[in-house]
Symmetry: C2
Subunit: 320 residues, 2 copies
Amino acid sequence: MTKTARAFTNIALIKYWGKKDQKLKLPYTNSLSLTLDRFYTDTSSEIIDSSKDIIYLNDMLLNEEQSKRIIKYLDSTRKKYNFSEHFKINSVNHVPTSAGFASSASGFAALAASIDQTMALNLDKSQLSILARRGSGSASRSIYGGFVEWIAGDNNNNSFAVPIDENPDIDLEILSAVINKKAKKISSTSGMEKSVETSPFYPNWVKLVSSETNEIKQAIKQKDIQKIGEIAEHNAMSMHALTLSAKPSFTYFEPETVEIIHLIQELRQKGILAYVTIDAGPNVKILGTHKSIEQIKSYLNNLSDVTTVVANIGHGIQYF
Amino acid sequence: MTKTARAFTNIALIKYWGKKDQKLKLPYTNSLSLTLDRFYTDTSSEIIDSSKDIIYLNDMLLNEEQSKRIIKYLDSTRKKYNFSEHFKINSVNHVPTSAGFASSASGFAALAASIDQTMALNLDKSQLSILARRGSGSASRSIYGGFVEWIAGDNNNNSFAVPIDENPDIDLEILSAVINKKAKKISSTSGMEKSVETSPFYPNWVKLVSSETNEIKQAIKQKDIQKIGEIAEHNAMSMHALTLSAKPSFTYFEPETVEIIHLIQELRQKGILAYVTIDAGPNVKILGTHKSIEQIKSYLNNLSDVTTVVANIGHGIQYF
């Protein structure tokens, strides 16, 4: 009987921006995220009598080129845990592109958990987080629910996520404002590399993340949403300051991104609790309370080319 | 007979962003600008038998509130140079708001030069630059034509501009893309203060300006427009990175600003020589050659809500 592992996506409140080891995916800094409910990946893996893996994504068979990254990941996992089995993997993403979240975090967390199950590796959660990290850095955090910190570490075995508060009793919602327009893509991997190598502000980013991680953990403990929002917004904008100050300068912002940033600042001046965070793309995610997010949604729905979707706090890995 | 002093506006290629002394207008860093031909202020001053100054701007009499800044400036000038005469000042701005340049640089440079003339103070150009600086920091640079460096200094007497190349033989034009929309205003004074006090990246900005000032002077010497553009664009974007990383974060960018930034990057990839620089507002200034600016203008004229105006390299202070 095939078991299925489910992992939820997460949104970084303290951003992961820069690898000190590309291959091992070791970050320069800790990062801190919130796992979201609504968006997840379900992955099952079945041992097959073959010398090749077969990969399905959303029930479609992937060709060699499309499955390359996953097969490379499975190869390194076989090597590390010293087994030779191959798999039929089926991964179903419930992270629609239209929701503005990357599926690599939930995808690699679910894949790692599925392999652990199928091969009965009996990994503890730290080991599982390490295994997920090797697929995609942010996947390390999707092992846990609620607020999660990824400890940067300095080698393969001490760079993993830890739970900060898996079931926070806090009235916090995330609205994703998705810009329905094809923007030119700079991958996060490439954007990080350029920032690390060319932004004169990168050394100060490393220090900033260290202090803001401590501050936001304090704010989470105090359930202080305003403080959480202030820190998250400043951290995200400082990450985008790194792209502006890279050589050559670049930005993930599109015109609508700036329009929404200004709108949220205006709403905040009207007393509506709202803070923005932005990842390596043009979409804007807004932190608020259940009540404020309802208000913000009605303002954003007036903008053309913008779709909104709301998420709540989500769980860690689940198995079916 | 009343004489008139004419000063031209200038655009900073290495930005002035942050004062270490608010009152004396001493900057944290050197800055470097290009004086522009088309935009200037003509100012005349006449000694009157009165204990109050009378100020006309564009032939309109200013009231007490409107003339406050200029009268305060005249008071401090009287004190410094130990005279008691009062003036009828007439200042005519040929820096239309629609051109997207501030008139304070040309305005205070022309006023300083006019007072120098009328009172026969016989100031040398360094002293004139210091006097202009006391009115508005960037006015210190409008004393000279062409490429001008403002040496930060550390007291009132050693913070003034020096000419780098007053008559550069270089095919360089500036296109100002003005966004015809009321943006919320954050004054440059306030924006600088917030950046200095709250951006974690400010200390590295100071170091960056020091190295980029040296690099751009080298590029000016070599008449290397591409290099001048690259440095100017990176410096401007790094200044805007300071506003993003301030607490709370803010930005002078409007949606159209980002649209033009992306457009210029695309045109550059098509082989058109074009670099952007942006001051404390939403308008974008584009550096190019006579030929490339013609091409860029035709692309920008397709955008609604954007007006373009082209300037060439301008002169230092003139008298009529």
